[in-house]
């Protein structure tokens, strides 16, 4: 049993909850694998202050109830020092009240800005996160649209939490950038054929089409756009940043442009980019360990783990000290970007943490320097 090993002096228990199976598995699985890999790396190098890290990781199966139960288990039974995880926003949000009450440093991997800036003002003393919120991604995207002068766009998002959250941020910030949606649509995550919807998009005659979804459904929509002979530029979300999008969308993927974390184009970064070295190292390690390319989600987990490990190295195992070390992290070079935490900013990232990437001839190409 995992819990009987006691709270020994030579061990630091770190809890983790990922959606390694279920609907969010494409996100959660690389997260779990990244953290497992890192724990091993750190322990091989002697752990933290000579103490080994003991990882207790649970799979919440992309289910909120499971996430809550696992959190309680981590707190009550495993008595961990800190918690990483909550792959999707819903699960993170369900976990937070418990964690705040128990007073344990917590780094979420999910994107919603509610995680650190709740609209109902509930406490977030202990909660941090490493994923760029949708607000940040949308700002990057809008900045890009504005620069290109594509101000009348079509907005299409997948009908799930990921898509609607993007939509909300878009609706919120678009006026600021002078961008207008001439048509707004939703499509199912299980879409097989989106031409029906796209006939209406075609009619609306946008300057560009924004498709906000993850690889599989976005690929279908992208293909359908081109099949209908709609020739405008397609801008998508960071959710398509995997090779399988290119496989699935085929030729239609060419020219698609989207904001994403730097890991996707790590080797194309200029050598002066502060993240380059870190990115390449993570990529190499991960590929060696698991045989496939790391994702941005794994990157969030990488960041979370290092933020925590560094804080523990600095502050020991006292929870409040770890927390305050986290809050005072400055200039931490991670996978998702360079972090500057503060009392009011428990994310520490801004739009600069993203780059625009274009798909050209089946490859991801950095579209800016």
């Amino acid at each position: 049993k995992t819990s009987t090993s006691g709270n020994g002096e030579d061990e630091i228990k770190v809890g983790a909850i990922f959606s390694a199976s279920g609907g969010a598995a494409p996100l959660g699985k690389p997260e779990m694998e990244t953290v497992k890999m890192l724990v091993k790396q750190w322990n091989d190098q002697g752990g933290i202050d000579g103490k080994k890290i003991k990882l207790i990781a649970y799979d919440d199966k992309s289910n909120q109830n499971e996430a809550v139960l696992s959190t309680k288990k981590l707190i009550e039974q495993d008595k961990v020092t800190a918690i990483i995880g909550g792959t999707i926003s819903g699960n993170s949000l369900a976990m937070i009240p418990l964690i705040e009450k128990a007073g344990i440093p917590y780094i979420s991997l999910a994107a919603s800005k509610q995680i650190v800036n709740p609209s109902d003002g509930s406490p977030r003393h202990w909660t941090f996160k490493t994923a760029q919120g949708d607000d940040i991604v949308i700002k990057k995207l809008l900045g890009f649209l504005k620069e290109k002068g594509w101000t009348n766009v079509a907005w299409l998002n997948v009908a799930n939490a990921y898509g609607t959250s993007g939509h909300e941020e878009f609706a919120h910030y678009a006026p600021e950038y002078g961008v207008k949606a001439v048509i707004e649509e939703e499509f199912e995550a299980t879409v097989d054929d989106a031409k029906a919807m796209l006939t209406r998009v075609k009619k609306a005659n946008p300057q560009a089409i924004i498709v906000w979804g993850t690889a599989q459904e976005s690929a279908v929509v992208t293909k359908n756009i081109r099949q209908l002979g709609i020739d405008v530029p397609i801008v998508e979300s960071h959710g398509i940043g995997t090779k399988s999008f290119i496989d699935l969308a085929g030729d239609a993927a060419n020219g698609v442009i989207f904001p994403v974390g730097r890991i996707l184009v790590a080797d194309q970064l200029s050598d002066s980019d502060p993240q380059k070295e870190t990115l390449l190292k993570y990529k190499e390690d991960f590929e060696k360990a698991y045989g496939y390319e790391p994702t941005t989600f794994g990157g969030h987990a990488w960041d979370a783990f290092h933020l925590l490990a560094n804080a523990m190295k600095e502050a020991g195992t006292d929870k409040e000290k770890i927390r305050s070390a986290l809050e005072n992290t400055k200039k931490f070079i991670g996978i998702s970007g360079v972090f500057h935490m503060s009392k009011d900013n428990h994310t520490g990232l801004d739009a600069d943490s993203l780059v625009m990437v274009q798909i050209q001839d089946g490859k991801f190409v950095l579209a800016e320097q």
Partner: protein, 354 residues
């Protein structure tokens, strides 16, 4: 007969006493461990829903693939009425139950003209439609981002924040729910329901108003689900539509089937087994396969489910009931030898047999 009944009664009393002791003592047995308590609470909540479904499935013979919708109605009613309209949680819980019953009535009238798989599809459709409502009616439900800041339940001035308090609260509801269901089952209503299950024409030609009873039981099961939903909302204080979609509905169905729908305890047992199995696999699978992820748990869960149902097609209560009936049969056999006269008057037609 008298003697036999008294014996059963005494046995029942003992069982009741033992049950009460376990119920009261359980939190101390687990050292107030909140994780275990919250598992128990979850079991209790699921048990409420599945007890209602057991009545619907096992007694009225109607499959519902949309039960989570009522769970959701309760949860959102409570969430909205307490957080935004400032109602007392108890009032909100009652309002949710009434709302769920009304929805069940409105939906039930057309739906119960259907049968078997068509009925299953219709309830599934209802579930999908309600899910869409939860998802799209953002002003009230908060949409896919979820509903935050649901207040906790209070009794008098005392807030039921701790898991221990909530455990007792939920258990009370579960007990009341079981008691109510148990009473219904052994009453005229329960008999009528099972009769409907057996043969609708015959039931109706004996005076059973089929539509009325099907509707009533559907509404009752909706109330059970709704109350559980309300409690859940106050317990976790955050809800989102995914909790009330089709997949949870299927999970409720699984619980009922595991537990066995031929007995009111089926819901509770099914919920307990379902939750414990999940937690157990979570503990055991990593020991067996250190590098495996959650997918193994799913594979094992699926396999166990299949094997369990192949060997216990009537669910766990079915197995228990079979054992019990064997015991009862034996005691009746003994009785037969004591009072052979009783059989003799039975010879009026066609002589004695078997």
């Amino acid at each position: 007969m008298e003697q036999y009944r008294r014996m059963v009664d005494r046995r029942k009393q003992w069982l009741l006493l033992a049950g009460a002791a376990v119920w009261l003592g359980l939190p101390w047995l687990v050292f107030g461990n909140n994780y275990v308590l919250s598992t128990l609470i979850l079991i209790g909540l699921y048990a409420l829903v599945s007890t209602g479904m057991t009545l619907l499935m096992g007694y009225a013979g109607q499959i519902s693939l949309g039960q989570a919708a009522f769970y959701g109605i309760g949860a959102y009613a409570s969430a909205y009425l307490t957080a935004h309209a400032g109602w007392s949680p108890w009032l909100a819980l009652a309002a949710g139950a009434v709302l769920a019953a009304l929805v069940a009535l409105v939906v039930g009238i057309p739906v119960f003209r259907l049968r078997e798989h068509y009925l299953a599809l219709a309830t599934l459709g209802f579930g999908v439609i309600m899910f869409t409502f939860f998802k799209e009616w953002k002003g009230i439900t908060g949409g896919l981002n979820g509903f935050f800041g649901i207040p906790t339940i209070r009794i008098g001035g005392f807030s039921l924040q701790s898991d221990l308090h909530f455990y007792y609260l939920v258990s009370l509801f579960v007990l009341a729910g079981l008691w109510f269901a148990h009473n219904i089952v052994r009453s005229r209503v329960g008999r009528a329901l099972r009769a409907i299950h057996g043969s609708e024409v015959a039931a109706s030609s004996l005076g059973v108003n089929i539509t009325k009873y099907k509707l009533q039981i559907f509404m009752l099961s909706a109330v059970y689900a709704s109350i559980a939903g309300s409690l859940y909302a106050h317990y976790v204080t955050f809800i989102n539509p995914d909790l009330f979609g089709i997949v949870p509905s299927i999970y409720f169905l699984i619980m009922v089937v595991i537990g066995g729908s031929a007995h009111v305890w089926g819901g509770l047992i099914g919920a307990a087994v379902y939750v414990c199995l999940g937690e157990w696999l979570k503990a055991v699978v990593p020991l067996l396969l250190p590098n495996a992820g959650g997918e193994f748990e799913i594979v094992f869960f699926g396999l166990l489910l299949v094997v369990m149902l192949i060997y216990m097609p009537n669910g766990l209560t079915g197995v228990v009931a079979k054992g019990m009936s064997k015991i009862l049969e034996m005691s009746r056999h003994q009785k037969k030898q004591v009072a052979p006269t009783e059989n003799h008057n039975a010879r009026s037609i066609g002589g004695e047999r078997g």
